[in-house]
């Protein structure tokens, strides 16, 4: 349902790598203020799809609209992105990294607020190559939120975090969503998707094979199942138990 209520509209998106189809004609709409989860086994095409939406890699064909129009210079000012695998400049401190990135945007939140939000106060003077994996993940999230974005892409934001840190990240994401920010999330944690997302799309072999709210998906696919009625059961039923990659 294209229209003003959608912040992102994707039409028949395709991408091939060396002749192999990674994304095979995906179409989807993401509503303003929603938390949209993109799930799928390894190699399903999630990252490729999200990176095309982020304008990091070009699509072979298809159309991506942001706020009803083609993405322009304003896009990078208004979106925040957390990649899963990103190194940062090793010899900058956490605080300097945030200040450097803040200078890239026309408007941004204060660095102190981001440090407080992501609990980086104790390590703000530490060099980036001296912080732990969990601290680095929080810093990457802080960088994604620095410009007070309308749309936030989060690629497996809680991977490698301990349960406490993961719950903290979830709280930040829920609060952002409550403030009307749109979130596009990829994750391998079904519990995370079920807890945070109001809409979930499941991908396999470059296509979206199912889409809906977590409750509807669970109702639809777990009705006659003996196994627990949750997103993991839905996911395994739709994508199978065969090991991928």
């Amino acid at each position: 349902m294209p229209g003003k209520s959608n912040i992102i509209e994707v039409r028949n998106l395709k991408k091939k790598y060396n002749g192999n189809t990674a994304v095979d004609g995906i179409s989807l709409n993401i509503a303003h203020g929603s938390c949209f989860g993109l799930l799928g086994p390894n190699g399903a095409g999630k990252t490729t799809t999200v990176e095309m939406m982020e304008n990091i890699i070009p699509q072979d064909s298809g159309q991506i609209l942001y706020k009803g129009r083609a993405r322009d210079k304003a896009f990078n000012q208004e979106v925040g992105i957390q990649f899963q695998h990103t190194e940062l400049l090793a010899f900058l401190t956490v605080e300097e990294t945030l200040k450097t990135f803040a200078a890239f945007y026309d408007k941004h939140l204060s660095v102190e607020d981001i440090i407080a939000l992501t609990l980086l106060e104790n390590i703000k003077k530490s060099l980036n190559d001296k912080i732990s994996g969990g601290q680095r993940q929080r810093l990457l999230l802080g960088l994604a939120l620095l410009n007070d974005p309308d749309l936030v892409f989060l690629d497996e934001p809680s991977t490698g975090l301990d349960p406490q840190a993961r719950k903290h990240i979830w709280e930040i994401i829920k609060n952002m969503n409550k403030k009307g920010k749109t979130i596009i999330l990829t994750t391998h944690y079904m519990e995370e998707a079920q807890s945070l997302c109001d809409t979930i799309a499941i991908m396999d072999q470059g296509r979206i094979i199912e889409q809906g709210s977590p409750e509807n998906l669970i109702d639809k696919h777990c009705k006659d199942m003996d196994s627990p009625k949750n997103m993991e059961s839905v996911f395994l039923k739709l994508t199978g138990k065969r090991l991928r990659e």
């Binding site: 990078n76 000012q77 990103t86 010899f91 450097t100 990135f101």
Partner: protein, 350 residues
Amino acid sequence: MSFKRMWALFVARNFEFIRDRAGFGWNILFPFLIVAGFGVMFSSDARSEFKLGIFPVTPDRMIVRELKIPEKLKAYDQIKIVPFETHDEAMDKLLHHKIDILLENGGEKLRYWISDSSPKGYVLEKMVKESIISEEMFASRVIKQQIKGQQIRYIDWLFPGILGMNIMFSSLFGVGYVIVRYRRSGVLKRLKATPVTAFEYLTAQLISRVLILLSTSFLVWLGCDFIFSFQMQGSYFDAFVVFLAGTLCLVCLGLILACRGTNEELTNGVINFICWPMMFLSEVWFSIEGASSWVKTAAKALPLTHFLSAARKIINDGATLSDVSHEITILLVMSLVFLSIGALFFSWTK
């Protein structure tokens, strides 16, 4: 284009360079060590370019003035006399080019052996022949003319070459290699997700590197000048302009290497492939005067050749900027071409 973004990237890159103590220290130490090494070599008796073996002589008891060879040979600074007890031992050294000529000590006639494949042996043979001609006969046939003006020490000629070589390595590795590493590790991908443009990023990298290289070169110059008292014939401002143009050109060449690729090993190989010809053809260590014309033509295609030519004209010969305007123009044109290619083909991710 945003100056605020460029400034933030410029400051961040400078912090990266200065806080990387190993890299920063090496950039200062490397040229200083080379110049210091050459200074020590050329201040000792290492000026002896020819090695003359002599037998039979007991090495521990050799007294040069008592050797029964022409007196002139004993007086040459350029000849180092190496004693051997036996002919066989000395011949082995001659065959392995450890000595350039072998003389018999105290024979009825002056007997000598040389290797036909040794270029130094050929010259030394001429010196041996000349040594048996009397001074009177020599003086009646030739007139020696003194050269006028101040002679240039080798260390003064070499110094601009060492600085240029250091700038070349630091430009290509510090820009080309580093940006490829940033691309592979995802740093550039993270920047692509911000409003930063390729032009802003490359300009910040370029200015940062030029500033750092000029500053470190200045420190090396000060340190070396304190020890060796370099003779500066031209103006320091003119030398600065030439170093600025040369550094800019080499950093821009680094940007071409940085524009694509994620393979650090390949980039390392390509940089070495570019650096080594420049080391030899651009006259870092020695002049290519007398080399074949195609070698000289090839050398003119290399930015370091024009950089060092202009730097030496100013430092060694007292030339002015107008005298080296040809070289500066070539460096600036090359910079523009390299920068355009680098910016045109730059990719954040591949």
